[in-house]
Symmetry: C2
Subunit: 317 residues, 2 copies
């Protein structure tokens, strides 16, 4: 059987069954945005995300400095989604020997810029050669409460930390390789090349969210991890889904369906999370987009009309 | 300037200067086998080592189960070299979608076999697609004393935990693609495909070694990291360097220079370390191969003859 027949999640499912976790200090193993171990009185989070040339970025379409920012941000996002603060990164690098040094230097400047911004440090790494450029970052974070994908409860509200769909629009704009871009187009491109992880929400997520995930593969796909793991149903309200003004102009100009971008566009690195009604007031800067109900699946409500939506997200395989 | 003009260590040197470590809980940053942070009352070690198809292994020449064992072992080796015990691994995987699932399954069985052997767990991972097979393992360990590369002192003895040069001989045998191999050849091949990290020495290294490094790039090259960082000179005694009987037969049969394999062959994952005279008796199962003196460089003493030897080790770039 080829790996492609299993898909990314089918593959992960089978592989993680082979690995037995025996250590009782492991609080969370496979199945969440981060793994978690207890060291003395601390909960320590582990995650990793890679940027591979041709799969996550095209060298000609993103500046090396933004690439460095990006590999840090996508990892920080997973730590924040578990209620943590990012602390120590470890960077594993593989590069073609004929690549210009100045390119990698700029990537490191971007990583350092992001480390300053997120108040964390990269403290070590590993170096190899390869035919393509690979930046694999491992990130450790700290929390005192692990916020899981599995904690959503019937009656909870579903919140979203910001607009979605921008990054996919930005990527498509880049791929058009236009000679010049309008202002709104440049903003969408920046949402793709320089996403910002929501560390500003980390404390409140830790204190008040019953479940959380970051939107890397698309809102519907990532929310479906929450509904599956929490064994609940999500009902989203069409009119409450936030539409970015820039995305609206983009969709009009290029005759695209905004909803498709908002639900299925990946790499926005916003957070989708659930909270009890009594904590709603903590998140006045976020969008309340729906409610958790008994059942399963994700539904979209538009007026009196309710329809089930696809749970497909971006799959790497 | 191309990266190849800098070489691996020139590149690392320049890159790590860009990254500023500001967190005072970081006990060891760049420059050793592991990085180290203090979490509550624990010293936590970080390391990572990758196996990239074509660079670290050739798919047709190593079984997937051995490859899984190997990626765990090469990481455990770095943790042990710092006096630590391996605890939690995080595996980042990139594979071609058309690869057979059964191949990856066997790699995971090999990783799990190694985890059982070394008493550690892999607790999470990441999955991407790529054109070549990449297993990047990030490993954390625990210690209560960090053994650095920089601790060797004048008068210390230099010890080696076992034979070196076997792995390179094994790799060359594999590359010959012979129809059949003799017994001693199969043992050399196994030293290459299934190296064993010296966790059996971890406790004693932690308690008694003044400096330590694992032999991944070759004895001379790795020992030179100790002499540079400790600002000392190493004098090795030719007749005390342990020659594996299998390597001796190999060198006779294929007309090779044993010493060249022993000093410059990589991937044996033995430990080279220094200890004070009063602790020598703790390591009766290791080879005393020389002494630390005032000065710099690595020298080989044969009878009354002393000559400086090259400090070159395997470089990835
Ligand atoms: N690309 C990199 N970026 C940052 N630090 C690196 C990188 N590569 C290696 N390092 C750091 O440089 C030091 C030496 O690395 P290396 O010689 O590869 O160690 P080892 O041979 O034990 O794996 C280590 O502290 C490691 O963390
Ligand atoms: N190749 C792998 N081996 C082991 N565990 C993996 C692998 N890939 C992913 N995982 C684990 O599966 C879970 C889901 O991963 P994933 O959906 O990729 O998370 P995210 O999208 O937040 O990066 C996580 O617990 C992760 O640690
Ligand atoms: C060249 C290229 N092709 C496709 C994409 C789209 N893409 C790549 S990864 C990804 C999803 C996010 O993946 P990752 O950052 O690996 O996070 P994870 O799924 O592991 O959380 C998407 C939508 C892209 N950014 N660049
Ligand atoms: C196909 C192939 N080419 C070359 C080698 C030789 N080789 C690859 S890596 C390496 C040194 C060890 O490298 P790594 O495990 O990355 O450890 P590090 O140097 O990072 O400690 C050697 C001698 C090999 N094993 N396979």
């Amino acid at each position: 059987m080829e790996i492609r027949d299993l898909g990314e999640f089918g593959l992960i499912d089978r592989l993680t069954k082979i690995l037995k976790i025996e250590d009782s200090s492991v609080v969370v193993g496979f199945g969440d945005d981060c793994s978690c171990v207890r060291i003395s009185d601390q909960l320590v989070l582990f995650t990793s995300d890679v940027q591979i040339e041709g799969r996550h970025f095209v060298k000609a379409l993103i500046s090396p400095q933004d690439l460095g920012w990006r590999v840090v941000s996508v990892n920080v996002s997973d730590v924040v989604a578990c209620g943590g603060k990012p602390r120590w990164g470890f960077i594993s690098l593989a590069v073609p020997p004929e690549l210009e040094f100045e390119y990698i230097e700029q990537v490191y400047k971007g990583m350092e810029e992001a480390c300053q911004y997120y108040k964390m440090d990269i403290i070590g790494g590993n170096t190899s050669s390869s035919e393509i450029i690979i930046f694999d970052l491992f990130l450790t974070g700290i929390t005192d409460r692990f916020v899981p994908r599995s904690g959503a409860k019937e009656g909870d509200y579903i919140l979203l930390s910001g607009y979605t769909g921008l990054s996919r629009a930005g990527m498509e704009l880049l791929q058009m390789k236009k000679d010049s871009y309008e202002d709104f187009e440049n903003r969408l491109i920046k949402a793709h090349t320089k996403p910002v992880a929501r560390t500003d929400l980390a404390d409140r997520i830790k204190k008040f969210a019953s479940s959380c995930i970051d939107v890397s593969d698309g809102l519907a796909g990532d929310l479906s991890h929450i509904t599956h793991m929490s064994r609940v149903k999500a009902v989203l309200h069409r009119e409450k889904l936030p539409v970015s003004p820039d995305l609206k102009i983009f969709c009009t100009k290029y005759k695209k369906d905004c909803l498709d971008y908002m639900l299925f566009g990946g790499e926005d690195y916003q957070l989708v999370f659930t909270v009890k009604e009594k904590h709603l007031s903590q998140f006045s800067d976020c969008f309340v987009i729906g409610k958790v109900e008994k059942g399963s699946g994700i539904f979209l409500k538009e007026g009196d009309n309710i329809k089930k939506i696809s749970e497909k997200g971006y799959q790497h395989i």
